[in-house]
């Protein structure tokens, strides 16, 4: 039952996109989102779509993979489309009950749906091509300046990476506890919803107790290895920007500039 849990949906690979510094990818994604919100017309949407397509082609991520990732968002997409469609402003093309469908409404609905889909696909590109660990590293380094305003950046990223490290361990433990409970007659997947929820209690209690014990032991082990927070800490693996990163930055800047120009000329 717990065998097929995947996390972060990372697809390992060696493409140029995979090799990019995680910081570059985070910055690129931010720029991409900015461009997406600046876009106002077909030309700029086409440009952004072309960027997305080029990145996913370089990263060997199939369009099918991206689209299947969108499935859980279907409701939100349809809902947004309907709201935009039914509450448009301007000259009504068609009216019934309290709804007016306008040219502006149709236009808004289409752009809104495209925007959401491209936004989500863009973030997928990040998580598909970056391991959660290097993502955490990248975030820590990018947020480093926030240490000045006393944001515990190092601690947060340490917590993230420990959480990632212990997820498989805890899944394994859950599996063990479930087997032990099943061996004594517990039923996790039969009965009414309330019964099933109740059956989870004897699973959660030992899991939590175990997690606390682990946390305690891990903290001691970390202290034994001279852990004393982020101060004076070095890293074995230094993140470094290379040519490919600068290429990505240039592309990102060009994209935003192009969208701005198109917006200004109202094409």
């Amino acid at each position: 039952m717990l065998k097929n849990v995947t996390l972060g949906q990372y697809f390992p690979g060696a493409t140029p996109v995979h090799r990019l510094d995680p910081r570059t990818k985070l910055i690129f994604l931010t720029g991409y989102i900015v461009a997406l919100f600046l876009a106002k017309n077909w030309a700029s949407y086409a440009l952004i779509f072309f960027t997305l397509a080029a990145v996913s082609y370089t990263a060997h991520i199939k369009p099918k993979t991206l689209l299947s990732g969108l499935k859980p968002l279907l409701f939100i997409v349809v809902f947004t489309a309907l709201i935009n469609l039914l509450y448009g402003t301007g000259e009504p093309l068609y009216t019934f009950w309290i709804f007016r469908i306008t040219r502006q409404g149709i236009h808004n609905a289409i752009f809104m749906v495209l925007r959401i889909m491209m936004l989500v696909c863009g973030t997928f590109m990040l998580t598909y091509t970056t391991s959660p660990l290097s993502l955490t590293d990248g975030l820590e380094l990018l947020l480093n300046p926030l240490k000045k305003i006393r944001l515990p950046v190092h601690e947060l990223s340490m917590m993230m990476s420990i959480a990632l490290r212990f997820i498989p361990t805890l899944i394994e433990e859950t599996d063990k506890i479930m087997s032990a409970q099943k061996a004594r007659g517990a039923a996790f997947d039969t009965g009414k919803l309330t019964d099933r929820a109740r059956a989870l209690l004897p699973l959660l209690v030992p899991l939590f107790v175990g997690a606390f014990r682990r946390a305690d032991e891990l903290a001691t082990a970390m202290e034994c290895r001279c852990y004393h927070g982020g101060e004076g800490r070095t890293r074995m693996k230094q993140l470094r920007f290379s040519g490919i990163d600068f290429a990505a930055f240039s592309l990102c800047a060009l994209l935003i500039a192009a969208v701005c120009v198109l917006r200004a000329f109202g094409l």
Binding site: L133, E217, A221, C224, R235, M236
Partner: protein, 282 residues
């Protein structure tokens, strides 16, 4: 040479409220470069003692000195922890990172070692425990013995002067146990680092330079494994066993056969009996 760890009249109880102390007025010195095994039952206080060696626990009375530094001196805490590394029972709960080499790099990173030097330390440590080929693996996919060897490498990479291992084989299967003991031997052979091995497996102590038997918070016996194990009756009264060969020789002596009392290995025992039989014939 001054001892690396010096315990002076250590008394410790977990609660202050007049409860029976876990360690009672215990004194001990660990020599540099020695391999010391501490043997004892559950609840004999051996783990509690080990936790005093790098200031995880602090003495209720008496004191513990590491390289001459009092473990109660908070300013020297990092120096103490850096000098005495510790390996625990459950390998899962000691591994911090999701990649083997990142985990081994954890301690040197904490100490602020420059990146290229960390790389070298990590590679050396992983080679020492025979896990170099697994450096890019995820720890949760390794076997128990492999995980424990990674944990040991993580401490070696800190380059301490002494490693304290608190029942490192207790949660492992026989193969994992053999791997870990092999790694300890390798470490001793390559670096001559001081090792304190806490255990309740009598066989793991045979190779040690010195064997300390703990019982109810005091030292019941202290000497070479040969000396300690030859006191078969004392071991029995502590609820521990000597190696079967030593026990056999002891039983035979009891029946009036003239055998040495300190045979340890099967070969020694066989030789001693063969020699006795030869003498007997004459």
């Amino acid at each position: 040479m001054d001892p690396i760890i010096k315990v002076e009249n250590l008394t410790f109880s977990y609660t202050d409220v007049g409860e029976k102390p876990v360690l009672k007025n215990l004194s001990l010195e660990i020599e540099r470069g020695s391999f010391v095994a501490v043997l004892g039952h559950n609840g004999s206080g051996k783990s509690t003692l080990a936790k005093h060696f790098n200031a995880i626990l602090l003495p209720t009375e008496g004191r513990v000195l590491v390289n001459g530094m009092d473990t109660r001196d908070e300013e020297r805490l990092l120096d103490i922890r850096g000098a005495v590394g510790m390996v625990f029972q459950n390998p899962d709960n000691q591994i911090v990172a999701s990649v083997v080499e990142d985990d081994v790099a954890f301690a040197p990173e904490n100490l602020g070692v420059p990146p290229d030097k960390i790389r070298r330390r990590v590679d050396e440590a992983l080679k020492c425990v025979g896990m170099y080929d697994f450096r890019l693996h995820a720890p949760h996919l390794l076997s128990g013995g492999q995980k424990q060897r990674v944990a040991i490498a993580g401490v070696i990479a800190m380059q301490p002067q002494c490693i304290v291992m608190d029942e490192p084989t207790a949660m492992l299967d026989p193969i994992g146990r053999r791997e870990v003991l092999q790694a300890i031997r390798q470490l001793r052979h390559e670096t001559g680092m001081t090792v304190v091995l806490i255990t309740h497996h009598m066989e793991e102590c045979i190779k040690a330079d010195r064997l300390i038997v703990m019982s109810n918070g005091v030292i019941a016996a202290d000497g070479t494994p040969r000396e300690v194990f030859s006191q078969v009756e004392m071991m029995k009264s502590e609820g521990l066993r000597s190696p079967e060969t030593t026990e056999l020789a002891h039983a035979l002596r009891g029946e009036g056969f003239d055998l040495p009392s300190d045979v340890l290995t099967v070969d020694e025992c066989a030789d001693a009996i063969a020699q006795f039989l030869k003498k007997d014939k004459k």
